[in-house]
Every structure is written in C-alpha cells, then in structure tokens.
Symmetry: C7
C-alpha cells in the first residue's frame, strides 16, 4: 500500500524532525535519556499561504527540502500511516539552516 | 422521510468523521477502548466563505468530497436527524489527504 | 392590543426556537425532562448588517423565514409582550436547514 | 433654572429607561420587588458616530425618539440635574420597537 | 514665577474637574464626606488627535472651554505646579454639557 | 573615553528624568525619602517612528530637547556607561511642558 | 567541519550577546557572580522583514554588524553547533549603540 500525502492548508508547514544520532562518533550506543534534543527539521510540504486583509496571498517563507530551525515549543504532532510528522505555522519557524 | 440538508454559513465546513475499523485485518473484533483514534473526515458541505476587511469573499480551502486531516481538539458535534456530523471553521482544518 | 415588532440592529437576527414535540408519534405525552433538546429555530427578522472597516455594509447570511441550526450555547433570551424569542449575532448561526 | 442638555460623544446614545407601571390594570399598587423588569427605553440624544479605519463616520443606528430594546446588562447610569438617564454605546442597543 | 503650560499629546484632553459647592444654598458649610460627587469638568487643552490606520489625523471631539461629563472611573491625576488637573483620552469623555 | 550614543528604534524616545532638588529654597538639605517625585524629563533622542498598516511612517510626537510629562508608571530604565536614562514608547508620553 | 549558517525568517534578528569582561582593568579575575550584566549584542544576521496588511514588506530596523541594546527580558536562546546565539524580533531591540 502506497503512503498517503498530506497537503497542508493555509500557512501550515509539514516537517519531519531530525532525530539525534543514537551512537557516539566512537560507536557507543546512547540511551534515550542521553540523546541531545535537536530542534531541527526538514520541510516535507508547504501550504499555499494565508491571505492578508488586502486580499493578497502571502506565501510561506520556506520551501520543500529546506532544513529549518524549530522553536523549543510549538507545532502539532501528526500520526499519518504510522509515521510521526509535525505541522507548524509558517510564523513559528525560526530560520533556515545552510551548510 | 427524506433527510434534511444543512448548508453551512460563513467559513464553516460540514464534516463526517472517519470511523476506525472495528475488526483487525485478520477479522478479530476490537473492543471500543482498543479502537485507534482517527482524526480524519470527509467534507460533506462548505459555507460560502468569510469576507475580509476589504470586502472580498475568501472562499474556504476545501471542497465537498475532500478527505481532510482534523485537529485533535475543535469542531462542534451536530446531531442532525439521528446522524452525528461535525462543523469546523475552515481555519481549523489541517490539510487535505491524497492517496 | 396588537403585538409590537422588534427590528434588530446591526447584524442581529431575531429567532423563534423550535419547540420539541411533547407527544411521541404514538400519542404518548412526554414529561419535560424527556423532551429532546432541539437547536433549531426560524428567523423572524434580521438586522441590516454590520459595516466592515472599508465602510461596506455586510448583510447577514440568513433571511426571514429561514430554518436555521443554532449553537449549543449563545443567543440572548428576549421577552417581548409575553413571547419568548431569541437574538443571535449573524456570526453565531451555524447553518440553514433545507428539507 | 432650565435643565442642562447632554450631547453624547462618538457613538454614545442617551436613553431614558421605561419605568414599569406601579399599579395593576385593576388599580392595585405593586411593591417595588413585584415590579416587572423592563428593558426598554426612549432615545433622548445620539452622538455623531464613530469613524472607521478608512476615516468614514459611521452614524449610530437609532435616532431621537426611537423606542429601543436594551440588553440585560450594560449602559452607564448618569445623574444629570437630579434626573437618572443612561448612556449606551450604539453597539449595545438590541433593536428598535415598533407598535 | 509664571505657571507652566502642558500641551497634551495624541488624543489626550487636559481637564479641570468641577468641585462641588462646599456650602448649601442656605450658607451651611458641608463636611467633605457630605459633598456630592461631581463628574464634570472643563477642557483646558486638547491634543492634536490620533492618526488612524489610513494615516488621517482624527481630531478629538471636544475643544478648550467645553464643559464635559466624565466617567465614574478613568483619567489620570496630574500635579502640575501645585495644581491638580486630569488627563483623559478623548474616547473616555462621555458628552458635552450645554446650559 | 567618549560616551556612547544610543539611537532609539521605532517609536522609542530616550529620556533623562528631571531629578528633584535636594535642598529647600532656604538651603536645607532634604533626605531622599522627603524628595518630591518628579514625573518630568528631557528628550535626549527619538526613534524614526513606526509604520502604520498603510505603510506610512508615523513620526513620534516629541523632539530632542522637549521637556515632557511622564506617566506614573512605564518606561524602561537603561544603564548606559554608568548613566541612568529611560526609554519610553511615544504613546506613553503624556504631554509637552512649556514655560 | 565548517559551521552552519542560520538565515532568520520574517522579522527575526540573530544576535551574539556581548560577554562581560572577566578581568578588572587591573587584571584581577572576577568570579561569575560578580560579572556585570551586559544587555548588548552584535547583529549576526537579519530576516527579510514582515509584510504589513497592505502587502508591503517592512524591513527590520537593524543590519548585520550593528551593536544593539537589548531588553532585560526577551529573545530566544539558540544552540547552533555548540555556539550560543539569540533570536530577537525586530520589535524587541531597543536601539543602536554608536561609539
């Protein structure tokens, strides 16, 4: 069975959070409580944006594939076909990470 | 007696929630407490939208027949001629599900 | 003495609530506590609407004679010449019921 | 000494509340606690209205002499030269009563 | 030393409150606790007004010398060179009193 | 070392508060608890103003050198190179004092 | 491994806070509790700004390299590749410091 796609509405952004590495560079397995918290994610899909009071569509500030910095709190956990993904409002995303 | 129709006002969206399957793929009947919670629904009808301050009508982002992802909380339960349906504001609907 | 009329102001809608049938289809009289709650009403009169910030008058979404679905809470009870009627803001009315 | 006049500012409406009849139709005098509460009044004066964000003056919805239905709560009691009158915002007045 | 003048900013209105007469018409001196509360004042100076979102200056609704009705609460007490005066926002002043 | 300058942003106004005289006119030194509170200040620098929703820059209502009346509460204490100065929003300043 | 860059979104401003000198001018090492609190920082990067209701982009009031005065509270601590930096909304930054 093929996975279903979620097309976000308004200024919502669908994000897969980056999971912390579970091994140290030396190969030692870390217990979950020792994993560093990572507030980063990759954009999976973006909504069309929200209209302002003048009627113009304001597109969201990120695009599919962007690596983004996320706030400590916020976003909604969505379980879609066993996969855990997150929905943020465009407003909540702090910035884009570039290598 | 024919069922009555409800035409939503403003940016309201009438939704029938998807009910979780009550049997496992193997045919075992599940008790209600074991049923997974499903935050999905099908759009039955949409309102005309809401006017912004410039006087333009902002249509809702979904249409009849769309399969949508719903938030954990929100929406109003409506009992219409014995049937349980839900009214959401367009703003509350998280996204459209595509197979 | 003729009854007085109330002309609602702004986006207010004057509504007479539908009273639940006090007998079963078989003719048995029901006690008040057993009466089903009916969140329906008929529009008696509507206000002219409210002006938006651009100065345009936004008419209300219902008209005299419409059968409407009302929210669980809200509206103001008005006693006018012994009759109990309700005032709702246009915004509060959920939808129009069609047979 | 002639009574002073109060010219309301903005969208304020000066109202004299209708006092309940203190005798029954048969002429029996009623104690104050038995008087029915009357949420009606007569408009004595109206302000020029309030400007919206576009700079247009939005006149109030009632005029001098109108008999109006008032909300259960709201309005400010004003004592002007021994007389008790009330100031309401145009927004608070529920509707106009017509015989 | 000449008294200093205060020029109010934005939509502020400088007001000197009317003090209740401390003698009865018959000449009896009243103690302070028996003085009637007087919510009236005289406008000493007005600010230029506030700009709305369209950029237009909205002048205040009163002018120097106007006798005004003040709300029960509100306004800020200002002590300027030993004199007690009050600053109100234009919005707070209830109406203009005319003889 | 020369003192640094602070250029306020948006509609902020940099103010040096007037300090109460510590001697009576007769030359008696007053203890700090006996000093009268003075809600006055001198404008040291002003920000460029804030843009309204139409995109126009709304300049602040005071200028460098103005003597202003300040509210009882509000403003932020800033310690800049050992000197205590205050930042107010233009909106908070009550009025301009003229001799 | 090269450090990653964070490009702030909307009206966010990336700031590195100025750290208080840990030695006195005479060379004495100060314990952390004796360090003066410094509410200053240097702008590392700025977002593109926020759109107002008319659809115009309002650029932020500071630029890369500006030395700024920060409020006592506010801003979000971001840990990016072991470095502690801060994100402020443009609105929160008090002013620009000039030597």
């Amino acid at each position: 069975m093929a996975a279903r796609r979620l097309i976000p509405l308004l200024d919502r952004v669908l994000i897969e959070r980056v999971v912390a590495a579970v091994k140290t560079p030396g190969g030692v397995l870390l217990p979950e409580s020792a994993l560093p918290k990572v507030n980063e994610g990759v954009v999976l899909a973006v909504g069309p944006g929200r209209r302002n009071q003048a009627g113009d569509l304001i597109p969201v500030g990120v695009k599919e594939g962007d690596k983004v910095l996320l706030p400590e709190y916020g976003g909604s956990l969505i379980k879609l076909d066993q996969k855990e993904i997150f929905l943020y409002r465009d407003e909540e995303i702090l910035g884009i990470l570039k290598d």
